[in-house]
Symmetry: C2
Subunit: 339 residues, 2 copies
DNA sequence: GCCGTCTGCTTAACCGGTTCAGTTTCTGTG
DNA sequence: CACAGAAACTGAACCGGTTAAGCAGACGGC
């Protein structure tokens, strides 16, 4: 019960394997009648193309793309972001029988090594890069490897690589004005790592919005997305004499950690402190008080990234794209300043 | 600047490509001197084996394994379990330059389809199956495909497939006796889906432990691991006149949801209600009160699964294995009954 | 000095597809 | 009816590895 090959189909149909190949790939070179017969035999035999064989042919594709997630493993599972992204990527891949190779690394050198290996061993047709950094060394590497790719982040700083980005400034303005309208003046943002491009963009947008709203006590402090960092940073901020009355977190995990610290320190939310989480998730809805959050359609984000990468792999021109913007979902963690 | 092949190495070394293959794979057939020369040339040229070519050779391996995660995408991101598992699997795979194909599906028929496709297209050398069910149809399929595999779950019900399982009964006894010692008598367990084998095993262990501790009001209710289910179930339980004084949840997400419901209903934790989460995670440590939890070493679990699968792929005999058992980490969510 | 064996290498087939260059057959046209 | 041109199909090369079989030369034993 060997797996059937096109040679088996060819024998059964009484034609050459070349003809079978044409028939199965919908190319000219066989009559409509023969094509139907071949397709039927193929389906009867339960034939499926061997992906290694396909990939080996000159100009062949592996039918797989790679995604490296470079975050400490223990913090990662908690961020719905990645799984939603993966889920979106896969809905797109599924349409063309493509697969996703996932690698979780602990640092960027391991990430770069993964790209090099994937390229050298011809394991993927392209990659999706996340968490674009300032002067990101991965860009050069991937360019040099001429590995088709799509960068999530930017625009700018992605060299010749196409990117998919979100303009966070509108949502940021919405958040700041919303909090200002509730009477908050000392708003502090607990940001992600400073080296991420999107962190910087948000920081700029935050300052602009604050200035526009006439707030002169707004600033950002950097943390690393982990719950631990959220805890530490929040504790420090709440211990200040000029304690902020509102905190805006760059991810849901730090926001939940911050909420925990507030409760532990006896700072009541939202009476004495308002909390906003940037990416929304089930988490934000489960904790009490539920967290006001900025929600984005991450699944679509992943789907679009996969589509763009597919185009890049096929050699079609790919231009930078902006995704849908985030929207504010007010919940129980925000309210007027209690004075 | 084509990627170098063994033919390029052969030319540079003045030998045949067969000799190069022997040299690179550490097989006999070339002198030590020639081998060194070939290895050096290979490294100078930056050669790496083409995985499609390797896979295509008779008896060749693709160097990839598959993992399907079959849960609703929106709940999934929150369970640290999977990412930790993936992380563990990958540390093992990295040692042999193997890769992981990940697929997220919404139902089991899609999962089965993934195995069939992977096998037919020769995309993976084997798969790791999670969430073993009672009379699991995947077992038959994977057996029929003669796809090397390791089942996470059992023992029992895995047909001819090797499995890796946890004996939860010890930890369950620990939890129940701990709660009983705190004075709890109405302990209810919010379990995972009834069709999962490990859910049933835990249910049995829970009943045994309860009986042993002399509790006759202990029982399990089933939910589906999502936060929504945790919310609904907890709300129903806390609305009863004979309200439980302690709840044991089968995952961290439902436990956090349960905590939220308690707070919303004015049931104070742990004074009026104690909460235990089965899998520990950052989440349990972040919420207030922090959640008492059963922690397992999931990363090792994944690593061991990958090792076993590697053995199965190489054709070495693989026997069922038990992983390290969970341990109870008491935190702020459990305390004596308030009466 | 002849034979057998071992070492170190070459040659060629093979894996399962794709594709290009021919060859045969069919069709239409002047 | 000859002939061009297209349609339908064949044969073989190719992708980049692995591996069985074969073969030349060295070496040792008797």
């Amino acid at each position: 019960m060997r797996r059937p090959t096109i040679m088996d189909i060819a024998k059964a149909a009484g034609v050459s394997k070349g003809a079978v190949s044409y028939a199965l790939n919908g190319r000219p070179g066989v009559s409509e009648q023969t094509r139907r017969r071949i397709l039927e035999i193929a389906s009867d035999l339960g034939w499926a193309p061997s992906s290694p064989a396909r990939a080996l042919s000159p100009g062949g594709r592996t039918g797989a793309i790679g995604l490296v997630v470079d975050r400490p493993a223990h913090s990662l599972g908690l961020e719905p972001f990645f799984m939603q992204l993966v889920s979106g990527i896969e809905t797109e891949l599924a349409r063309s029988n493509n697969d996703l190779l996932l690698q979780v690394t602990e640092d960027m050198s391991a990430e770069v090594a993964a790209y090099r290996r994937w390229s050298a061993e011809r394991r993927v047709d392209g990659v999706i890069m996340v968490d674009l950094r300032v002067d990101d060394p991965r860009i050069r590497v991937v360019e040099e490897l001429s590995l088709p790719s799509v960068v999530l982040g930017g625009p700018g700083g992605t060299g010749s690589l196409p990117c998919l980005y979100t303009d966070d400034s509108v949502a940021m303005r919405e958040v700041v004005h919303y909090l200002a309208a509730l009477g908050h003046r000392r708003i502090v943002r607990v940001a992600g790592p400073e080296e991420f491009v999107h962190t910087r963009a948000r920081t700029g947008a935050f300052l602009d919005a604050a200035e526009q709203a006439g707030l002169d006590e707004a600033y950002s402090v950097h943390a690393d997305y982990t719950g631990e960092a959220g805890t530490r940073t929040t504790r420090r901020l709440l211990a200040r004499t000029d304690r902020p009355t509102a905190l805006v977190y760059d991810n849901d995990l730090m926001a939940v950690a911050g909420l925990g610290v507030a409760q532990e320190m006896g700072v009541s939310v939202p009476a004495q402190l308002s909390i906003v989480a940037w990416d929304d998730s089930v988490l934000c809805r489960l904790v009490r008080p539920s967290l006001t959050a900025i929600a984005r359609d991450i699944v679509s984000y992943g789907r679009l990234a996969a589509t763009m990468l597919g185009d890049a792999i096929e050699g079609r021109p790919v231009s930078n794209q902006e995704t849908s913007r985030g929207e504010l979902y007010p919940r129980a963690s925000t309210g007027p300043t209690g004075g």
